[in-house]
Symmetry: D4
């Protein structure tokens, strides 16, 4: 199937962080592509990627980058697709603040849907939610997923009760 | 027409900031509703709003709040719709950091699509982009809008040239 | 005995940090319960927990959470009991600032009694102090505890003197 | 009636911020006293105030201070009463961070129940909640107060609907 | 004369801040051009500007922008000219941190010579210093300028002495 | 009398902030001099000032500066006198953080005695305390001064009591 | 010999950081004492220590503490001796900011001479500089020490030259 | 060949970070020198280095330092050469903020071309770009270098495609 979501990142060193987006999309069976597009090292590739994204059938772009992270914002400036930005805490980052603010604080007219630091999994879920606005099947998968999060907590709570974990304390 | 986007905010004092979202959606002729839903003062109303949003036909929720801003994240925890969070710089905010971090740093499983501080206009554009993934007409309006941003800059540049503004400097 | 203090946390990964609250309450022989309640993954359980807390005999709630930490504030919005918030420095936290500000910066009307980052022990002591306002026995235990802190320091000072530790320096 | 809550502040310049605590306590008809106690300019008065507070019948102390704000923590070190700290954003404060961190980040053994920057009103409500743990009448006043917060929001929502405020937007 | 320095900014609202660069270059009689180039609203114009800069005879580019400021870094990624970045404290900036970090924290391979917040004058002086490395006349102008800064201070000191300003104090 | 304390500042625009140091020294009748010494605009004057300070009879140097504030640290590197640094919140400062950190975070071997942001008065008091270590008369003036701070608070407290200020609240 | 400098710290866990002050004072042969004084756990001991310090012959107090670090400021409020504050980066500190701001941002009237984070060595040197204002022998030791810092750098530079370290690079 | 670029650093402990500048200059065959110049420990050496730099044939100075980093700014105050500042994250740094702000926030008149935290490689590239403004050969080396960055990314993308890396994900 043709990919609906494009996952791009500024460097292959971001791969460890960014694969979370791909994993959750696979779990939702949403076809997607993964590649490296660097705003600073491959500016023309970036422009072309963003410009052709919609024509190639993509509906959402997930872009992750660290430091002075320009990839999400620049892709958003060229494409009309919703762009989800993932701030990556890279090695010489100032505690991640540089990446967060470079992605989040976009000027009027060019939004980037920013998620938490390193939260590529949430970027994948958000992409699914966006696709779900036009696709009931995906929407129901998200509902099931959120229910499963709930169930996991409840199960843990039950196990703790049985194992006497709480008794240990009172 | 039935609203496709729900714009909610934690307090009516957020209205000045949040109306930017409504204005741009009106410009795109996207039907939407605007109301006050407080996570802390009306928790049950918030749960109900989030729980019924999809049934009532909403596709996207825009939630703005200041300080310890729990509204966007809590709505995202109850609904499966994409939730766009607008950090509002309220009066006793610590420079807006409280609001930004309370909305952005959501845990795995429950994303909020966060935009810049006070950037309700961008929240509206992002909502349109999300709707545009399933609606070519809206998608083209966004393209026209982005082109108009481009044209505005070019026009200013031309005016400056003619008015001799640059000559003034060299 | 029926628990007087409810210790809840957003995830079982917060347990290592949060058990400090339970340990000090055990030391004060104050009955308490410990469980996981996630604002984002189990919002309905959270509402129910908060709504029934007082009826079940709880006097104080201690709530710990990391990142965009909404649990303490949301519990405070539903219950009339005093809620003590413990900011937890979780793995993808931005140095703990997200958790601190999400818990501390509550709007007018809905206070959360916030303690230091990861300071669950202090949350337990604060809960005891609150119970002590209506229970002289507990109040005296706290006094004894504070005296013991004093004595520990004095003892160390004496040991250092005898061991010639200070002589080493002058 | 004898005061149950002591409201103290480091300087009379904090009075504008701190009177919010007194106003809400008056609303709840909780007797309280208000005075200036400076950790740095009147250290002996501070020690004495803290040491005699319980004997004089106080149940809770609210302490507000700005900058390097030592008053709440030092009072907590001498008294066994619960101490609520209000960080005040004073004139030469570094955006309030100094005051917030000086009050919040207390070491193990000596908690201060910190509320938001300048949030003296919330300090008053928290004091009432603490007293409410041993006094059902106060507890019900708090419940009524929280319900009134809810009602105020609902009323505003209704007014907006009637006045066509929402129609204005869609 | 053909311009040697290109001064660009993300928006005409940055003009008040950025004209300091032009003024000092005029003072040094260094020909330059001034225009608006927006990374986000006119990405293609930006690429073209950067790509043709050297061919058109420019030696240095000064780029100012606020918020998530991508202009300096993106121009640096396309051009081989030295790029001086001026962080601008725009209206919805988070105290200027967003702009500073977006410009400063560039990844390996693509430097931006960042100056202080709003310091367009220093950007102009730095551009002159860069041109001065190959042009002794400009280099001497900078020396004269730095000497004049020195003289201004010395003159003020002398005036203060004569006017008895210091006597006032001792 | 020969000055014992040298008050210097990086720019005459710092004078409004820095005169607080002179005023308190006058109150203590400690002879002192006041002048402008810029680390960046008059580096040689700065070196000379620092190198001759002790020979000229100075015992303590108070140095105030804003932004990247190098004056206190550089003076400390050349002189063996104790140097008190006053961070000044200048116009384009990033909330004063630049000035505070540039003065405070000196490397091993070269301390600067840093006081609070804009706290030139405290710099003057600290200078007096330092002189007081070798001069009992000055030491007693400081004691009297600290007692007067105490008395001022006590007087205000008494006035408030008489004026019924506290009654107003309970 | 009677100690001239008192080195105190809030907890014996600060000893590793604080021993740097003692080591440099030993190097300068300045008699001093070292002990633990906790503002929060031993408030009365702290008051007494500060109140008797001058009578016991101390000239300077060095106080180190972490987190909400009240020890330096409280000692300064009781004593008229110059107090040097050492912010200690303790285990649950928020990157050291809490400790730095709690010590630095003292109100008008009560200065603390703050040194860099963990910079106890600099606190010792500053104490020596203060004593040197009344003691030429100590003053000359400091001069010798600063000269030795200079020599160490020059020696390293020479070694590098000889070893061809620089040749390695060009 | 005579060095064109001087690389200096405040301490030999900065060598690990700073050698990146030398390595890239070697790659560009640009002659340079490397040595230690400490603003605080060798102030006279620093003044002399800066004052003679131009006469000795240097065109650009790269200065790296950590903590309260005064070296780049002080060298810029004495020399008329462009000075590139490299903030170094030293051991007791407050997350690198001290170094970044001490170098970046220079006052009007004395610019420092600041690069990212620890980004000595970028300092070297920037030095090359500056030299390239007057030397077409160097300019072309930079162009080749930037092209190689581009090629490296493209090659990795191709390898990923062939290795089926992307297939793994969709």
């Amino acid at each position: 199937m043709e990919p609906l979501v494009g996952i791009i990142m500024g460097s292959d060193s971001d791969l460890t962080v960014m694969q979370g987006a791909s994993e959750i999309l696979k779990q939702f069976a949403i076809p997607h592509e993964v590649t490296v597009v660097s705003a600073h090292r491959t500016p023309h590739r970036m422009i072309e990627y963003a410009q052709t994204a919609k024509k190639r059938g993509l509906k959402v772009i997930i872009a992750g980058a660290g430091g002075a992270a320009h990839l999400p914002g620049m892709v958003a400036s060229v494409s009309t697709l919703p762009v989800i930005g993932v701030p990556v805490k890279s090695s010489n980052s100032i505690d991640g603040w540089d990446s967060v603010l470079s992605i989040l604080q976009m000027p009027n007219g060019i939004p980037v849907a920013t998620v938490a630091l390193n939260a590529s999994k949430n970027a994948g879920i958000l992409a699914a939610e966006i696709l779900g606005t036009g696709n009931e099947e995906i929407s129901q998968k998200i509902e099931a997923y959120k229910n499963s999060l709930n169930s996991e907590v409840i199960e843990k709570v039950e196990k703790m009760k049985k194992a006497g974990w709480e008794n240990k304390f009172d």
